[in-house]
Protein backbone atom coordinates (compact mmCIF):
# COMPACT_ATOMS: atom_id res chain seq x y z
CA UNK A 1 0.00 0.00 0.00
CA UNK A 2 2.72 2.43 -0.88
CA UNK A 3 0.80 5.48 -1.92
CA UNK A 4 1.73 7.42 -4.96
CA UNK A 5 2.87 10.96 -4.25
CA UNK A 6 -0.08 13.20 -4.77
CA UNK A 7 1.19 16.73 -4.54
CA UNK A 8 -2.07 18.11 -5.81
CA UNK A 9 -2.25 21.09 -3.54
CA UNK A 10 0.18 23.63 -2.25
CA UNK A 11 -0.82 22.53 1.22
CA UNK A 12 0.77 19.12 0.80
CA UNK A 13 3.92 20.58 -0.68
CA UNK A 14 4.84 22.21 2.62
CA UNK A 15 4.06 19.31 4.86
CA UNK A 16 7.43 18.77 6.44
CA UNK A 17 8.06 22.38 7.36
CA UNK A 18 7.36 21.97 11.04
CA UNK A 19 9.41 18.81 11.28
CA UNK A 20 12.40 19.70 9.20
CA UNK A 21 14.17 21.35 12.10
CA UNK A 22 14.02 18.15 14.10
CA UNK A 23 15.48 14.81 13.30
CA UNK A 24 15.06 11.41 14.88
CA UNK A 25 12.04 9.17 15.14
CA UNK A 26 8.48 10.45 15.46
CA UNK A 27 7.99 8.44 18.64
CA UNK A 28 10.71 7.05 20.84
CA UNK A 29 9.86 4.83 23.80
CA UNK A 30 12.52 3.44 26.13
CA UNK A 31 11.78 1.02 28.98
CA UNK A 32 8.32 2.45 29.45
CA UNK A 33 6.41 0.99 32.39
CA UNK A 34 3.22 1.76 34.23
CA UNK A 35 1.84 0.36 37.45
CA UNK A 36 -1.48 1.81 38.50
CA UNK A 37 -2.08 2.64 42.15
CA UNK A 38 -3.15 -0.43 44.15
CA UNK A 39 -2.29 -2.76 41.23
CA UNK A 40 -0.14 -5.76 42.04
CA UNK A 41 1.47 -6.02 38.61
CA UNK A 42 2.69 -3.67 35.90
CA UNK A 43 0.14 -2.84 33.21
CA UNK A 44 3.06 -1.96 31.03
CA UNK A 45 6.28 -3.79 31.83
CA UNK A 46 9.19 -1.94 30.25
CA UNK A 47 8.38 -1.49 26.58
CA UNK A 48 10.83 0.00 24.06
CA UNK A 49 10.24 0.87 20.42
CA UNK A 50 10.55 3.62 17.85
CA UNK A 51 8.10 4.92 15.28
CA UNK A 52 9.69 6.38 12.17
CA UNK A 53 8.51 9.70 10.80
CA UNK A 54 5.79 9.32 8.23
CA UNK A 55 4.97 5.70 8.96
CA UNK A 56 1.71 4.12 10.03
CA UNK A 57 2.48 2.18 13.18
CA UNK A 58 -0.03 -0.41 14.34
CA UNK A 59 -0.45 -1.56 17.92
CA UNK A 60 -2.06 -4.97 17.98
CA UNK A 61 -3.20 -6.72 21.12
CA UNK A 62 -6.22 -7.93 23.07
CA UNK A 63 -8.09 -5.71 25.51
CA UNK A 64 -6.00 -5.07 28.59
CA UNK A 65 -2.75 -5.82 26.79
CA UNK A 66 -1.30 -2.39 27.48
CA UNK A 67 -2.15 -0.65 24.20
CA UNK A 68 -4.30 2.04 25.74
CA UNK A 69 -1.87 2.60 28.59
CA UNK A 70 0.93 3.14 26.06
CA UNK A 71 -1.18 5.54 24.01
CA UNK A 72 -2.33 7.24 27.23
CA UNK A 73 1.29 7.89 28.25
CA UNK A 74 2.29 9.06 24.76
CA UNK A 75 -0.64 11.49 24.70
CA UNK A 76 0.19 12.89 28.18
CA UNK A 77 -2.95 11.60 29.87
CA UNK A 78 -1.23 8.89 31.91
CA UNK A 79 1.98 9.40 33.85
CA UNK A 80 4.56 6.66 33.35
CA UNK A 81 5.99 4.86 36.38
CA UNK A 82 9.35 4.32 34.68
CA UNK A 83 10.98 4.88 31.34
CA UNK A 84 10.99 7.61 28.73
CA UNK A 85 8.58 8.54 25.97
CA UNK A 86 9.34 11.17 23.33
CA UNK A 87 6.87 12.36 20.69
CA UNK A 88 8.19 14.47 17.81
CA UNK A 89 11.25 15.31 19.84
CA UNK A 90 9.32 16.31 22.97
CA UNK A 91 9.58 14.31 26.22
CA UNK A 92 5.93 13.78 27.17
CA UNK A 93 6.58 13.52 30.91
CA UNK A 94 8.96 16.48 31.13
CA UNK A 95 7.06 18.79 28.78
CA UNK A 96 3.44 17.64 28.43
CA UNK A 97 2.31 21.07 27.22
CA UNK A 98 4.89 21.04 24.42
CA UNK A 99 3.95 17.47 23.53
CA UNK A 100 0.25 18.35 23.27
CA UNK A 101 1.19 20.97 20.68
CA UNK A 102 2.63 18.37 18.30
CA UNK A 103 0.32 15.42 18.78
CA UNK A 104 -3.27 14.79 17.81
CA UNK A 105 -5.62 12.27 19.39
CA UNK A 106 -8.67 10.51 18.02
CA UNK A 107 -10.16 8.72 21.04
CA UNK A 108 -12.20 5.57 21.08
CA UNK A 109 -15.23 7.23 22.66
CA UNK A 110 -17.08 10.22 21.28
CA UNK A 111 -15.78 13.27 23.13
CA UNK A 112 -16.98 15.96 20.75
CA UNK A 113 -18.28 19.17 22.27
CA UNK A 114 -22.03 18.64 22.20
CA UNK A 115 -22.79 22.28 22.80
CA UNK A 116 -21.07 23.24 19.56
CA UNK A 117 -21.82 22.55 15.92
CA UNK A 118 -19.54 20.38 13.80
CA UNK A 119 -17.77 23.38 12.34
CA UNK A 120 -17.50 25.10 15.72
CA UNK A 121 -15.95 21.93 17.16
CA UNK A 122 -13.18 22.21 14.59
CA UNK A 123 -12.71 25.94 14.98
CA UNK A 124 -12.64 26.03 18.77
CA UNK A 125 -10.20 23.11 18.83
CA UNK A 126 -7.92 25.08 16.52
CA UNK A 127 -8.24 28.14 18.74
CA UNK A 128 -7.12 26.11 21.77
CA UNK A 129 -4.02 25.27 19.74
CA UNK A 130 -3.37 28.85 18.75
CA UNK A 131 -4.27 28.58 15.06
CA UNK A 132 -4.96 32.13 13.85
CA UNK A 133 -8.59 33.01 13.15
CA UNK A 134 -8.41 33.39 9.38
CA UNK A 135 -6.50 30.17 8.98
CA UNK A 136 -8.72 28.12 11.23
CA UNK A 137 -11.85 29.20 9.38
CA UNK A 138 -10.37 28.30 5.99
CA UNK A 139 -8.92 25.06 7.29
CA UNK A 140 -12.21 24.03 8.89
CA UNK A 141 -14.05 24.48 5.60
CA UNK A 142 -11.39 22.55 3.68
CA UNK A 143 -11.27 19.67 6.14
CA UNK A 144 -15.07 19.45 6.43
CA UNK A 145 -15.15 19.14 2.68
CA UNK A 146 -12.49 16.43 2.59
CA UNK A 147 -14.28 14.43 5.25
CA UNK A 148 -17.65 14.62 3.58
CA UNK A 149 -19.11 16.77 6.34
CA UNK A 150 -19.54 19.99 4.40
CA UNK A 151 -23.25 19.55 3.82
CA UNK A 152 -24.18 19.84 7.52
CA UNK A 153 -21.54 22.03 9.15
CA UNK A 154 -24.05 23.53 11.58
CA UNK A 155 -25.46 20.23 12.84
CA UNK A 156 -24.81 19.15 16.42
CA UNK A 157 -22.70 16.02 17.00
CA UNK A 158 -25.64 14.21 18.62
CA UNK A 159 -27.47 14.24 15.29
CA UNK A 160 -24.82 12.21 13.42
CA UNK A 161 -24.06 8.52 12.98
CA UNK A 162 -21.14 6.69 14.55
CA UNK A 163 -19.15 6.79 11.33
CA UNK A 164 -19.68 10.51 10.95
CA UNK A 165 -18.72 11.12 14.59
CA UNK A 166 -15.51 9.23 13.91
CA UNK A 167 -14.82 11.42 10.88
CA UNK A 168 -15.48 14.57 12.89
CA UNK A 169 -13.02 13.50 15.54
CA UNK A 170 -10.31 12.85 12.96
CA UNK A 171 -11.13 16.14 11.24
CA UNK A 172 -10.88 17.95 14.58
CA UNK A 173 -7.53 16.32 15.40
CA UNK A 174 -6.12 17.54 12.08
CA UNK A 175 -7.06 21.16 12.77
CA UNK A 176 -3.75 21.88 14.51
CA UNK A 177 -1.72 19.86 12.00
CA UNK A 178 -0.15 17.42 14.44
CA UNK A 179 3.16 15.74 13.63
CA UNK A 180 1.94 12.49 15.12
CA UNK A 181 -1.69 11.40 15.08
CA UNK A 182 -2.89 8.76 17.58
CA UNK A 183 -5.97 6.76 16.67
CA UNK A 184 -7.32 4.58 19.48
CA UNK A 185 -9.33 1.61 18.18
CA UNK A 186 -10.72 3.77 15.38
CA UNK A 187 -12.86 1.24 13.58
CA UNK A 188 -14.59 -0.29 16.60
CA UNK A 189 -18.32 -0.19 15.96
CA UNK A 190 -18.08 1.18 12.44
CA UNK A 191 -19.97 -0.30 9.52
CA UNK A 192 -17.88 -1.61 6.57
CA UNK A 193 -18.31 1.54 4.48
CA UNK A 194 -17.27 3.79 7.35
CA UNK A 195 -14.31 1.52 8.02
CA UNK A 196 -13.14 1.77 4.40
CA UNK A 197 -13.50 5.55 4.55
CA UNK A 198 -11.35 5.57 7.66
CA UNK A 199 -8.68 3.37 6.06
CA UNK A 200 -8.73 5.63 3.05
CA UNK A 201 -8.13 8.70 5.20
CA UNK A 202 -5.30 7.05 7.13
CA UNK A 203 -3.63 6.14 3.84
CA UNK A 204 -3.99 9.74 2.68
CA UNK A 205 -2.51 11.06 5.92
CA UNK A 206 0.42 8.73 5.48
CA UNK A 207 1.02 9.86 1.94
CA UNK A 208 0.85 13.45 3.17
CA UNK A 209 3.68 12.69 5.60
CA UNK A 210 1.81 12.53 8.91
CA UNK A 211 2.96 9.85 11.32
CA UNK A 212 0.02 7.74 12.45
CA UNK A 213 -0.02 5.48 15.49
CA UNK A 214 -3.07 3.27 15.54
CA UNK A 215 -4.27 0.73 18.10
CA UNK A 216 -6.51 -2.09 17.04
CA UNK A 217 -7.52 -5.62 17.80
CA UNK A 218 -8.51 -6.11 14.18
CA UNK A 219 -5.98 -8.20 12.23
CA UNK A 220 -7.12 -6.98 8.84
CA UNK A 221 -6.87 -3.39 9.91
CA UNK A 222 -3.38 -3.86 11.33
CA UNK A 223 -2.20 -5.71 8.22
CA UNK A 224 -3.80 -3.34 5.72
CA UNK A 225 -2.95 -0.01 7.25
CA UNK A 226 0.32 -0.44 9.06
CA UNK A 227 3.84 -0.15 7.75
CA UNK A 228 4.91 -1.90 10.92
CA UNK A 229 2.99 -3.73 13.59
CA UNK A 230 3.83 -4.10 17.27
CA UNK A 231 2.20 -7.06 18.97
CA UNK A 232 1.67 -6.45 22.66
CA UNK A 233 0.25 -8.66 25.39
CA UNK A 234 0.40 -8.56 29.20
CA UNK A 235 2.24 -5.26 28.99
CA UNK A 236 5.12 -6.71 27.00
CA UNK A 237 6.13 -6.15 23.40
CA UNK A 238 6.18 -9.59 21.79
CA UNK A 239 7.10 -8.68 18.22
CA UNK A 240 7.65 -5.65 16.04
CA UNK A 241 8.09 -5.72 12.28
CA UNK A 242 6.33 -5.19 8.98
CA UNK A 243 3.23 -7.37 8.61
CA UNK A 244 4.99 -9.27 5.79
CA UNK A 245 8.11 -9.94 7.85
CA UNK A 246 6.08 -11.05 10.85
CA UNK A 247 4.24 -13.53 8.66
CA UNK A 248 7.42 -14.65 6.90
CA UNK A 249 8.96 -15.55 10.23
CA UNK A 250 6.13 -17.98 10.91
CA UNK A 251 6.97 -21.68 10.88
CA UNK A 252 3.38 -22.87 10.88
CA UNK A 253 0.56 -21.99 8.56
CA UNK A 254 2.16 -22.56 5.11
CA UNK A 255 0.12 -25.14 3.27
CA UNK A 256 -0.65 -26.51 -0.16
CA UNK A 257 -4.20 -27.81 -0.51
CA UNK A 258 -4.39 -30.16 -3.51
CA UNK A 259 -7.30 -31.89 -5.22
CA UNK A 260 -6.21 -35.09 -6.93
CA UNK A 261 -8.11 -37.21 -9.47
CA UNK A 262 -6.85 -40.73 -8.67
CA UNK A 263 -5.55 -43.05 -11.36
CA UNK A 264 -6.33 -46.79 -11.78
CA UNK A 265 -4.51 -49.77 -10.21
CA UNK A 266 -2.07 -49.06 -7.38
CA UNK A 267 -2.82 -45.36 -7.76
CA UNK A 268 -6.37 -45.95 -6.50
CA UNK A 269 -5.14 -46.04 -2.90
CA UNK A 270 -4.26 -42.61 -1.40
CA UNK A 271 -1.94 -44.01 1.29
CA UNK A 272 0.95 -44.54 -1.09
CA UNK A 273 0.57 -41.08 -2.58
CA UNK A 274 0.51 -39.42 0.85
CA UNK A 275 3.66 -41.28 1.85
CA UNK A 276 5.40 -40.30 -1.39
CA UNK A 277 4.47 -36.62 -1.01
CA UNK A 278 5.68 -36.65 2.59
CA UNK A 279 9.06 -37.82 1.35
CA UNK A 280 9.55 -34.61 -0.65
CA UNK A 281 12.25 -32.51 1.01
CA UNK A 282 10.73 -29.53 2.80
CA UNK A 283 7.35 -31.15 3.41
CA UNK A 284 6.73 -31.44 7.12
CA UNK A 285 3.39 -33.21 7.12
CA UNK A 286 0.78 -34.48 4.70
CA UNK A 287 -2.82 -35.30 5.54
CA UNK A 288 -5.85 -36.40 3.60
CA UNK A 289 -8.92 -34.25 4.20
CA UNK A 290 -12.47 -35.56 4.13
CA UNK A 291 -14.39 -33.46 1.66
CA UNK A 292 -17.50 -35.04 0.13
CA UNK A 293 -18.04 -31.98 -2.09
CA UNK A 294 -14.95 -32.86 -4.11
CA UNK A 295 -14.65 -35.85 -6.42
CA UNK A 296 -11.27 -37.44 -5.88
CA UNK A 297 -8.98 -36.78 -2.91
CA UNK A 298 -8.14 -33.65 -0.99
CA UNK A 299 -4.67 -33.55 0.42
CA UNK A 300 -3.21 -30.83 2.67
CA UNK A 301 0.58 -30.56 2.56
CA UNK A 302 2.34 -28.53 5.28
CA UNK A 303 5.58 -27.10 3.95
CA UNK A 304 8.56 -25.07 5.08
CA UNK A 305 9.18 -22.09 2.83
CA UNK A 306 7.11 -20.83 -0.07
CA UNK A 307 4.20 -23.22 -0.80
CA UNK A 308 4.19 -22.26 -4.52
CA UNK A 309 7.66 -23.74 -5.00
CA UNK A 310 6.34 -27.19 -4.16
CA UNK A 311 3.60 -27.32 -6.80
CA UNK A 312 5.75 -28.82 -9.58
CA UNK A 313 7.24 -31.56 -7.38
CA UNK A 314 3.83 -32.53 -6.02
CA UNK A 315 2.43 -32.67 -9.56
CA UNK A 316 5.26 -35.03 -10.57
CA UNK A 317 4.60 -37.37 -7.66
CA UNK A 318 0.85 -37.37 -8.41
CA UNK A 319 1.59 -38.17 -12.09
CA UNK A 320 3.92 -40.99 -11.05
CA UNK A 321 0.97 -42.55 -9.25
CA UNK A 322 -1.11 -42.28 -12.43
CA UNK A 323 -3.35 -39.52 -11.05
CA UNK A 324 -3.74 -35.88 -12.04
CA UNK A 325 -3.63 -32.68 -10.01
CA UNK A 326 -6.97 -30.92 -10.61
CA UNK A 327 -6.79 -28.14 -8.06
CA UNK A 328 -4.23 -26.28 -5.93
CA UNK A 329 -4.73 -23.67 -3.22
CA UNK A 330 -1.84 -21.99 -1.44
CA UNK A 331 -2.24 -21.27 2.27
CA UNK A 332 -0.15 -18.42 3.65
CA UNK A 333 -0.08 -17.62 7.35
CA UNK A 334 -1.55 -14.29 8.40
CA UNK A 335 -1.15 -11.97 11.34
CA UNK A 336 -3.69 -13.97 13.26
CA UNK A 337 -1.43 -17.03 13.05
CA UNK A 338 1.48 -14.87 14.17
CA UNK A 339 -0.54 -13.68 17.11
CA UNK A 340 -1.62 -17.18 18.09
CA UNK A 341 1.96 -18.44 17.86
CA UNK A 342 3.21 -15.58 20.05
CA UNK A 343 0.51 -15.55 22.69
CA UNK A 344 -0.87 -19.06 22.52
CA UNK A 345 -4.42 -17.83 22.00
CA UNK A 346 -6.66 -16.25 19.42
CA UNK A 347 -7.30 -12.52 19.54
CA UNK A 348 -11.05 -12.62 19.10
Amino acid sequence: MRAAPQGTTSATATIHNSDSSRSGPAVEVVGLAKRYPKATADSLAGVSFEVERGEVFGFLGPNGAGKSTTIGILTTRIRPTRGRAVVAGVDVAADPVGARRVLGVVPQMNNLDRSLSVRQNLIFHASYHGVPRGRRNRLADAILDQFGLADRPDGRPDDFSGGQIQRMMIARALMHSPSVLFLDEPSTGLDPAARLFLWDKVAELRSAGTTVVITTHDMDEAATLSDRVAIIDHGTLLALDTPAALVRGMSAGRTLDCTVEPGAGPGADPTGLVAAVSAISGVSETEQLEDPTVSGWRIRIHVEGDPASFVAQVAQVVAAFGGSLTGVRLGEPNLEDVFIQLTGRALR
Binding site: M1, R2, A3, A4, Q6, T8, A11, T12, T14, I15, H16, N17, S18, D19, Y36, T76, R77, I78, R79, P96, V97, G98, R100, R101, V105, P107, M109, N110, N111, L112, D113, R114, L116, F124, H125, S127, Y128, H129, G130, V131, P132, R135, L139, D145, Q146, R172, L174, S177, L196, W199, D200, K201, A203, E204, L205, R206, S207, A208, T210, L225
Partner: protein, 278 residues
Protein backbone atom coordinates in the same frame (compact mmCIF):
# COMPACT_ATOMS: atom_id res chain seq x y z
CA UNK B 1 -5.23 -1.27 -0.58
CA UNK B 2 -5.87 0.58 -3.75
CA UNK B 3 -7.48 3.64 -2.29
CA UNK B 4 -4.23 5.32 -1.43
CA UNK B 5 -2.91 4.77 -4.91
CA UNK B 6 -5.79 6.61 -6.48
CA UNK B 7 -4.36 9.93 -7.61
CA UNK B 8 -7.80 11.49 -7.61
CA UNK B 9 -8.29 10.83 -3.91
CA UNK B 10 -8.63 14.07 -2.03
CA UNK B 11 -5.68 15.14 0.00
CA UNK B 12 -6.09 15.69 3.68
CA UNK B 13 -4.91 19.16 4.49
CA UNK B 14 -2.21 18.53 7.02
CA UNK B 15 0.02 21.39 6.13
CA UNK B 16 1.76 22.35 9.33
CA UNK B 17 1.28 25.71 10.88
CA UNK B 18 4.78 26.72 9.91
CA UNK B 19 5.87 29.50 12.18
CA UNK B 20 3.04 29.31 14.61
CA UNK B 21 2.77 32.48 16.63
CA UNK B 22 3.85 31.40 20.07
CA UNK B 23 0.64 31.28 22.02
CA UNK B 24 1.39 30.74 25.61
CA UNK B 25 -0.76 28.54 27.80
CA UNK B 26 -2.50 31.72 28.98
CA UNK B 27 -3.88 32.38 25.57
CA UNK B 28 -5.01 28.77 25.22
CA UNK B 29 -6.75 29.21 28.58
CA UNK B 30 -8.46 32.33 27.27
CA UNK B 31 -9.59 30.45 24.15
CA UNK B 32 -11.18 27.80 26.40
CA UNK B 33 -12.84 30.53 28.47
CA UNK B 34 -14.11 32.10 25.27
CA UNK B 35 -15.74 28.79 24.35
CA UNK B 36 -17.57 28.69 27.68
CA UNK B 37 -18.66 32.32 27.34
CA UNK B 38 -19.82 31.63 23.78
CA UNK B 39 -21.99 28.70 24.86
CA UNK B 40 -23.42 30.56 27.87
CA UNK B 41 -23.97 33.75 25.84
CA UNK B 42 -26.09 31.82 23.37
CA UNK B 43 -28.49 30.78 26.11
CA UNK B 44 -28.14 33.81 28.35
CA UNK B 45 -31.89 34.24 29.09
CA UNK B 46 -32.10 30.61 30.23
CA UNK B 47 -29.03 31.12 32.37
CA UNK B 48 -30.54 34.25 33.95
CA UNK B 49 -33.83 32.52 34.70
CA UNK B 50 -31.87 29.70 36.28
CA UNK B 51 -29.95 31.94 38.67
CA UNK B 52 -32.60 34.55 39.42
CA UNK B 53 -35.58 32.44 40.37
CA UNK B 54 -34.53 31.10 43.78
CA UNK B 55 -33.18 34.36 45.24
CA UNK B 56 -36.14 36.22 43.76
CA UNK B 57 -38.60 34.05 45.69
CA UNK B 58 -36.52 34.14 48.87
CA UNK B 59 -36.38 37.91 48.65
CA UNK B 60 -40.06 38.20 47.91
CA UNK B 61 -41.33 35.82 50.63
CA UNK B 62 -38.89 36.69 53.43
CA UNK B 63 -38.30 40.32 52.61
CA UNK B 64 -41.70 41.37 51.38
CA UNK B 65 -44.51 38.94 52.26
CA UNK B 66 -43.48 38.10 55.84
CA UNK B 67 -42.75 41.73 56.57
CA UNK B 68 -46.08 42.84 55.09
CA UNK B 69 -47.89 40.22 57.19
CA UNK B 70 -46.08 41.37 60.28
CA UNK B 71 -44.19 38.15 60.97
CA UNK B 72 -40.83 39.81 60.64
CA UNK B 73 -39.74 43.13 62.01
CA UNK B 74 -39.43 46.06 59.59
CA UNK B 75 -35.83 46.32 58.56
CA UNK B 76 -35.35 42.55 58.28
CA UNK B 77 -34.95 42.95 54.55
CA UNK B 78 -31.82 45.00 55.26
CA UNK B 79 -30.36 42.03 57.09
CA UNK B 80 -31.57 39.59 54.45
CA UNK B 81 -30.49 41.34 51.26
CA UNK B 82 -26.68 41.17 51.69
CA UNK B 83 -27.08 37.55 52.77
CA UNK B 84 -29.03 36.69 49.62
CA UNK B 85 -26.37 38.33 47.44
CA UNK B 86 -23.82 36.08 49.17
CA UNK B 87 -26.09 33.06 48.70
CA UNK B 88 -26.52 33.78 44.98
CA UNK B 89 -22.76 34.11 44.51
CA UNK B 90 -21.74 30.99 46.43
CA UNK B 91 -24.51 28.69 45.21
CA UNK B 92 -24.33 29.69 41.56
CA UNK B 93 -20.55 29.33 41.66
CA UNK B 94 -20.82 25.87 43.14
CA UNK B 95 -23.42 24.63 40.68
CA UNK B 96 -21.83 26.26 37.63
CA UNK B 97 -18.58 24.44 38.26
CA UNK B 98 -19.65 21.14 39.80
CA UNK B 99 -22.37 20.03 37.37
CA UNK B 100 -20.48 20.54 34.09
CA UNK B 101 -17.41 18.88 35.58
CA UNK B 102 -19.35 15.79 36.59
CA UNK B 103 -20.90 15.51 33.14
CA UNK B 104 -17.73 16.27 31.21
CA UNK B 105 -15.62 13.80 33.17
CA UNK B 106 -18.07 10.96 32.90
CA UNK B 107 -20.89 11.01 30.38
CA UNK B 108 -19.69 13.31 27.63
CA UNK B 109 -15.88 13.12 28.02
CA UNK B 110 -15.95 16.61 26.53
CA UNK B 111 -13.21 17.81 28.82
CA UNK B 112 -10.67 15.57 27.02
CA UNK B 113 -10.25 17.98 24.14
CA UNK B 114 -9.30 20.68 26.65
CA UNK B 115 -7.03 18.38 28.63
CA UNK B 116 -5.21 17.70 25.34
CA UNK B 117 -4.83 21.41 24.58
CA UNK B 118 -1.37 22.91 25.07
CA UNK B 119 -1.73 24.23 28.59
CA UNK B 120 -1.06 22.75 32.04
CA UNK B 121 -3.80 20.47 33.44
CA UNK B 122 -4.16 22.80 36.41
CA UNK B 123 -4.97 25.68 34.08
CA UNK B 124 -7.99 23.76 32.77
CA UNK B 125 -9.23 23.48 36.36
CA UNK B 126 -8.51 27.15 36.94
CA UNK B 127 -10.52 28.07 33.85
CA UNK B 128 -13.45 26.04 35.17
CA UNK B 129 -13.29 27.90 38.49
CA UNK B 130 -12.96 31.32 36.84
CA UNK B 131 -15.85 30.64 34.49
CA UNK B 132 -18.05 29.33 37.30
CA UNK B 133 -17.18 32.45 39.30
CA UNK B 134 -18.13 34.67 36.35
CA UNK B 135 -21.57 33.11 36.23
CA UNK B 136 -21.80 33.47 39.99
CA UNK B 137 -20.83 37.13 39.79
CA UNK B 138 -23.59 37.80 37.25
CA UNK B 139 -26.09 36.01 39.50
CA UNK B 140 -25.03 38.11 42.49
CA UNK B 141 -25.06 41.33 40.46
CA UNK B 142 -28.60 40.86 39.18
CA UNK B 143 -29.75 40.65 42.81
CA UNK B 144 -29.36 44.42 43.04
CA UNK B 145 -31.95 45.40 40.38
CA UNK B 146 -34.21 42.61 41.65
CA UNK B 147 -33.83 43.95 45.17
CA UNK B 148 -34.81 47.43 44.04
CA UNK B 149 -37.80 45.99 42.22
CA UNK B 150 -39.07 43.74 45.05
CA UNK B 151 -38.08 45.74 48.12
CA UNK B 152 -38.29 49.24 46.65
CA UNK B 153 -34.67 49.99 47.63
CA UNK B 154 -31.49 48.13 48.59
CA UNK B 155 -28.99 49.17 51.27
CA UNK B 156 -26.24 50.88 49.42
CA UNK B 157 -23.20 53.03 50.16
CA UNK B 158 -21.06 54.55 47.44
CA UNK B 159 -18.01 54.52 49.72
CA UNK B 160 -17.95 50.74 50.03
CA UNK B 161 -18.72 49.95 46.39
CA UNK B 162 -15.24 48.61 45.62
CA UNK B 163 -15.17 46.47 48.75
CA UNK B 164 -18.64 45.06 48.00
CA UNK B 165 -17.42 44.17 44.52
CA UNK B 166 -14.35 42.44 45.94
CA UNK B 167 -16.47 40.53 48.49
CA UNK B 168 -18.86 39.35 45.77
CA UNK B 169 -15.90 38.20 43.64
CA UNK B 170 -14.48 36.35 46.65
CA UNK B 171 -17.85 34.68 47.28
CA UNK B 172 -18.14 33.68 43.63
CA UNK B 173 -14.68 32.14 43.65
CA UNK B 174 -15.36 30.36 46.96
CA UNK B 175 -18.53 28.79 45.58
CA UNK B 176 -16.80 27.82 42.36
CA UNK B 177 -13.88 26.25 44.26
CA UNK B 178 -16.37 24.19 46.28
CA UNK B 179 -17.86 23.15 42.95
CA UNK B 180 -14.41 22.02 41.77
CA UNK B 181 -14.17 19.74 44.79
CA UNK B 182 -17.67 18.31 44.38
CA UNK B 183 -17.23 17.91 40.63
CA UNK B 184 -14.00 15.97 40.91
CA UNK B 185 -14.35 13.90 44.10
CA UNK B 186 -17.96 12.78 43.82
CA UNK B 187 -18.65 9.84 41.51
CA UNK B 188 -21.30 10.69 38.88
CA UNK B 189 -23.83 8.19 40.22
CA UNK B 190 -23.75 9.89 43.64
CA UNK B 191 -23.94 13.50 42.51
CA UNK B 192 -27.68 13.81 43.12
CA UNK B 193 -27.59 12.62 46.69
CA UNK B 194 -24.41 14.59 47.35
CA UNK B 195 -26.03 17.77 46.11
CA UNK B 196 -28.99 17.23 48.41
CA UNK B 197 -26.70 16.50 51.35
CA UNK B 198 -24.36 19.42 50.70
CA UNK B 199 -26.59 22.19 49.36
CA UNK B 200 -29.22 22.30 52.08
CA UNK B 201 -26.80 22.65 55.01
CA UNK B 202 -24.73 25.08 52.96
CA UNK B 203 -27.75 27.30 52.30
CA UNK B 204 -28.97 27.38 55.87
CA UNK B 205 -25.70 27.56 57.83
CA UNK B 206 -24.20 30.39 55.76
CA UNK B 207 -25.71 33.27 57.80
CA UNK B 208 -27.52 34.55 54.73
CA UNK B 209 -30.89 34.81 56.55
CA UNK B 210 -29.57 36.00 59.97
CA UNK B 211 -26.53 37.86 61.28
CA UNK B 212 -23.91 35.65 62.90
CA UNK B 213 -23.57 37.68 66.19
CA UNK B 214 -27.32 37.30 66.80
CA UNK B 215 -26.79 33.56 67.30
CA UNK B 216 -25.21 34.15 70.74
CA UNK B 217 -27.97 32.26 72.48
CA UNK B 218 -27.76 29.35 70.04
CA UNK B 219 -24.10 28.72 70.61
CA UNK B 220 -23.76 25.30 68.96
CA UNK B 221 -25.43 26.58 65.78
CA UNK B 222 -23.18 29.64 65.81
CA UNK B 223 -20.17 27.31 65.88
CA UNK B 224 -21.57 25.30 62.97
CA UNK B 225 -22.04 28.50 60.96
CA UNK B 226 -18.41 29.43 61.61
CA UNK B 227 -17.37 26.43 59.55
CA UNK B 228 -19.34 27.50 56.47
CA UNK B 229 -17.24 29.67 54.13
CA UNK B 230 -20.42 31.44 52.98
CA UNK B 231 -20.85 32.89 56.48
CA UNK B 232 -17.89 35.20 55.88
CA UNK B 233 -19.31 36.48 52.60
CA UNK B 234 -22.78 37.09 54.11
CA UNK B 235 -21.27 38.80 57.13
CA UNK B 236 -18.74 40.75 55.10
CA UNK B 237 -21.42 42.10 52.77
CA UNK B 238 -23.61 42.95 55.76
CA UNK B 239 -20.74 44.85 57.29
CA UNK B 240 -20.21 46.77 54.08
CA UNK B 241 -23.85 47.43 53.17
CA UNK B 242 -25.60 47.73 56.54
CA UNK B 243 -22.79 48.50 58.99
CA UNK B 244 -25.20 49.31 61.83
CA UNK B 245 -26.32 45.67 61.99
CA UNK B 246 -23.98 43.65 64.25
CA UNK B 247 -21.60 41.58 62.09
CA UNK B 248 -18.23 39.84 61.98
CA UNK B 249 -15.59 42.50 61.21
CA UNK B 250 -15.15 42.95 57.45
CA UNK B 251 -11.37 42.50 57.65
CA UNK B 252 -11.79 39.15 59.38
CA UNK B 253 -14.31 38.10 56.72
CA UNK B 254 -11.86 38.93 53.92
CA UNK B 255 -8.99 37.10 55.55
CA UNK B 256 -10.93 33.97 56.46
CA UNK B 257 -12.57 33.98 53.00
CA UNK B 258 -9.22 34.16 51.23
CA UNK B 259 -7.78 31.45 53.48
CA UNK B 260 -10.77 29.21 52.76
CA UNK B 261 -10.37 29.89 49.03
CA UNK B 262 -6.72 28.86 49.14
CA UNK B 263 -7.49 25.61 50.96
CA UNK B 264 -10.47 24.74 48.75
CA UNK B 265 -8.47 25.44 45.58
CA UNK B 266 -5.59 23.22 46.68
CA UNK B 267 -7.97 20.36 47.53
CA UNK B 268 -9.92 20.90 44.31
CA UNK B 269 -6.78 20.97 42.17
CA UNK B 270 -5.62 17.69 43.69
CA UNK B 271 -9.01 16.16 42.88
CA UNK B 272 -8.93 17.52 39.35
CA UNK B 273 -5.45 16.18 38.70
CA UNK B 274 -6.49 12.78 39.98
CA UNK B 275 -9.43 12.70 37.59
CA UNK B 276 -7.54 14.12 34.62
CA UNK B 277 -4.32 12.10 34.84
CA UNK B 278 -3.90 8.35 35.12
Amino acid sequence: MTIADDPTASTVATAPLGHLPHWGPWRTGLAILRRDLFVTGREFPIFLAQVILQPLFLLFVFGKVLTALGYTRPGYQLVLFPGLVALAAVLTGLQSTALPLVIEFSYSNEIEDRLLAPLPIGAVALEKVVFGAMRAFVAAAVMFPIGVWVLGAVPWQASTFGAVLAMVVLGSLLGSAMGLILGTYVPPNRINVTFALVLTPLIFTGCSQYPWPSLRDLRWFQVVCTLNPMTYISEGLRGLMVPHVPHIPVGVCFMVGVAYLAVLMVVGMIGFNRRALG
